[in-house]
């Protein structure tokens, strides 16, 4: 009966029914029917170490970057458009990087690219960004721009205008001020890009401060046992031992140093990994006395506006995300390097790579890691590599590292919050 009625309904009433239906659909669809351009997200693309040796840091950085995107979108996005992060796992393998960035640019058509984490993973992206003249914010690479001199490269790690040298300058300067003045140096590092750069800079500092090198050797990153290496270092009896290593080697060397009884006057320098919660809690009191680089510790001289708020947000999500529960090392800087990019996009009101890059180069930026100004080579205009010393660390409780006192800053003078316990053996 009903079917017959529909079939015999007149054409105008069918059209009316259709229009009412369409109007209903449009109304229910809501604001999505707004013009497409305004809702188009601004895409920021990158590779990140989500698996492999550097993944502990990479995943923490990703969380910080996602927090930034949420913060920005909550305030209305950039230029009225939401921000979207497009990323792939580079597996801490440099060989994966060119493919990832080509895909981001040619297929995902991102508006901006930023770097992944680490010297070794930034290097392979450089030729691509240089060829396409892109703005490139970089996350913790040591001296990646030295050979290129690319003008649109900006490094958020506060190494300083001469990164390889500034990296260890504070360590050797501290050494030079001690009594009795140390004289001999042992340089040890892994066979990889970061340690190579760090040791090159260390050699210059050794010359500058008038020390004598008595051991200078690298080891394969896949070394299982570090006791032969540490023994060889001990055999030459150096006053200073400067190590440039990645997390597994850092742990291996600290353990081996204890077993072999390595007792220089000053020990540490460029050991990546001694900033991570996992190694802090496992190595515990074995870290006492080591002087190492860092970029942010919960000391009273480093209270930048916004940092504590960020850390609260990060730490609330860290455990669920399975990342470093403290988040002091990389996450604040991962947030900051996107902060700068976002602020530049807003200030220039454009997505033009050169305009944004020019703005970044010319401005002092306010970030959660303090005021940032770049030198012409893209590094920080003033170095802020902190030298901290592990002091009075007890047991494996992680909470002790959230309070000041366990890692006082010794250098630079502006940020100093404690005194060096010298020589190394006195702190043990």
């Amino acid at each position: 009966m009903r079917q017959a009625a529909l079939r015999t309904a007149s054409r105008p009433s069918r059209l009316l029914a259709l229009s009412v239906l369409l109007a209903l659909v449009a109304a229910l669809a809501g604001p999505g029917v707004a013009p497409a351009a305004a809702a188009q997200p601004i895409k920021i693309g990158f590779g990140m170490a989500l698996t492999g040796g550097l993944a502990g840091n990479g995943k923490a950085a990703l969380l910080a970057m996602q927090i930034w995107a949420e913060d920005v979108n909550r305030k209305g996005g950039l230029l009225g458009r939401p921000v979207e992060l497009v990323y792939y796992d580079d597996q801490t393998k440099p060989a994966n990087v060119p493919g990832i960035y080509t895909k981001l640019l040619d297929i995902d058509k991102v508006d901006f690219v930023v770097s992944g984490y680490g010297t070794n993973l930034i290097a392979p992206a450089m030729p691509i960004v240089i060829e396409r003249k892109l703005t490139f914010m970089a996350l913790f690479g040591l001296n990646n721009n030295e050979k290129f001199g690319y003008r649109n490269y900006f490094q958020i790690m506060p190494a300083g205008p001469r990164p390889a040298v500034d990296w260890s300058a504070g360590f050797f300067e501290l050494a030079s001020k001690q009594t009795p003045r140390p004289t001999t140096v042992a340089l040890v590092g892994a066979d990889a890009e970061y340690p190579h750069n760090a040791l090159a800079g260390a050699r210059e500092n050794v010359r500058k401060f008038g020390f004598k090198t008595v051991y200078d050797s690298t080891y394969p990153p896949t070394t299982v046992d570090y006791t032969p290496i540490v023994r060889a270092v001990k055999a030459v009896n150096p006053d200073i031992v400067y190590v440039a290593s990645y997390p597994p080697d850092s742990a291996g060397i600290v353990l081996a140093a204890h077993e072999v009884g390595l007792q220089p006057k000053l020990f540490g320098g460029g050991m990546v990994g001694l900033q991570f919660a996992a190694l802090l809690s496992k190595l515990g009191a074995k870290l006492n006395g080591i002087v190492n680089y860092d970029f942010w510790v919960p000391e009273p001289t480093l209270k930048f506006p916004g940092i504590e708020e960020f850390l609260k947000k990060y730490q609330a999500q860290a455990e669920k995300a399975g990342v470093d529960p403290l988040g002091y090392y990389l996450p604040p800087f991962a947030y900051a390097y996107l902060q700068i990019l976002g602020q530049a996009i807003e200030a220039t009101r454009s997505l033009d790579q050169q305009k944004v890059a020019d703005y970044i180069r010319a401005t002092e930026h306010d970030t959660i890691v303090g005021k940032v100004r770049f030198a012409p080579n893209g590094e920080w205009a003033t170095s802020r590599v902190l030298q901290i010393q592990f002091q009075h660390v007890e047991g494996t409780d992680l909470a002790q590292f959230t309070r000041p006192g366990k890692r006082p800053v010794l250098h630079p003078e502006r940020r100093r919050s404690g005194t060096l316990i010298y020589p190394y053996t006195r702190a043990r």
């Binding site: 993944a55 046992d225 032969p228 991570f276 996992a278």
Partner: protein, 291 residues
């Protein structure tokens, strides 16, 4: 430190390291040496053993060696299951060489990613009373962190040798390596024997993994660093010879240690593989292998 002290300590450190390498390589020595199964997933089983030791250590405070021993039967069962799948899919149809290899690649990635999802990407370490302690005997300083794994590895090697040479099952394994058809004629099912052998090989991974995480920090992708080493040791020692594996592992451990101490650690791996190439040139069957 006088040079002779340094030499003595380097040799001892090398021997200890070699002992540990033996534990990791035994499984490959049996699987690849005796059964011709290219099990490149063996190192990831070792890492699985490491993570189990870590999990038990963190939740129950168990010593890693105890965990390694406790999980050995489970690893045996895992090995038998993996072999059965491998046999049914590849060996039976004669496609073991390339496709079998791809199969083990697949197993490697599944286990590695499974560990990543479960435990995350951070490096993990265990705590035990003797890790970090050093024995000082005159000019010698022996880290217990290396000595204990070496001793356990030697015990494991002795146990495996006892099974292979002292039991009828062991004889059957050596027989199936020589001539599996003849074994069938004797009324023994070679597939059952091979499954048992492969299970035995995988069972060693449980304890080897516990030893690995005692020596240093572990993360899931580390298994790939060991693939080259363990196959080199299995080949150098002579396919299927347990004593050969021990000898090869100790030779490589000492070579690595001496090179790292006196000539620069960068050369350590080059020296190890150089020794392998030289040996194969002179004695293609390996040190203790039967041509």
């Amino acid at each position: 430190m006088v040079a002779s002290d340094l030499l003595l300590n380097a040799v001892v450190a090398g021997v200890l390291l070699g002992g540990f390498y033996t534990a990791v390589s035994l499984g490959v020595s049996v699987a690849f040496g005796l059964l011709d199964v290219v099990n490149i997933a063996h190192p990831v089983f070792v890492i699985l053993g490491s993570y189990l030791a870590y999990a038990m250590n963190v939740t129950l405070g168990l010593d890693p060696i105890l965990t390694g021993l406790a999980f050995t039967p489970a690893f045996y069962a895992l090995g038998v299951a993996v072999y059965r799948v491998y046999y049914a899919s590849f060996e039976k149809t004669g496609q073991e060489s390339l496709r079998g290899l791809v199969f083990f690649f697949g197993v490697l990635f599944i286990v590695e990613v499974g560990l990543l999802l479960q435990f995350g990407v951070d490096y993990r370490l265990v705590e035990a009373g003797y890790i970090g302690e050093t024995l000082r005997l005159g000019p010698l300083s022996v880290a217990l962190r290396l000595a204990v794994p070496c001793l356990v590895a030697l015990a494991l090697t002795a146990a495996l040798a006892a099974v292979l040479h002292g039991t009828s099952y062991g004889r059957a394994i050596r027989a199936v390596a020589q001539d599996s058809f003849a074994l069938r004629l004797m009324g023994v099912d070679p597939v059952r024997v091979k499954a048992f052998a492969f299970g035995l090989a995988t069972a060693t991974a449980s304890l080897a993994g516990a030893l690995l995480i005692m020596i240093g920090p572990v993360e899931p992708a580390m298994n790939r660093e060991y693939i080259g080493r363990v196959f080199a040791i299995a080949v150098l020692g002579g396919m299927g010879s347990v004593g050969g594996t021990l000898a090869a592992a100790v030779i490589l451990g000492v070579a690595e240690s001496l090179t790292a101490t006196f000539y620069g650690p960068s050369w350590a791996l080059a020296v190890s593989f150089g020794i392998l190439l030289l040996t194969l040139a002179v004695r293609p069957a390996g040190l203790f292998g039967q041509a």
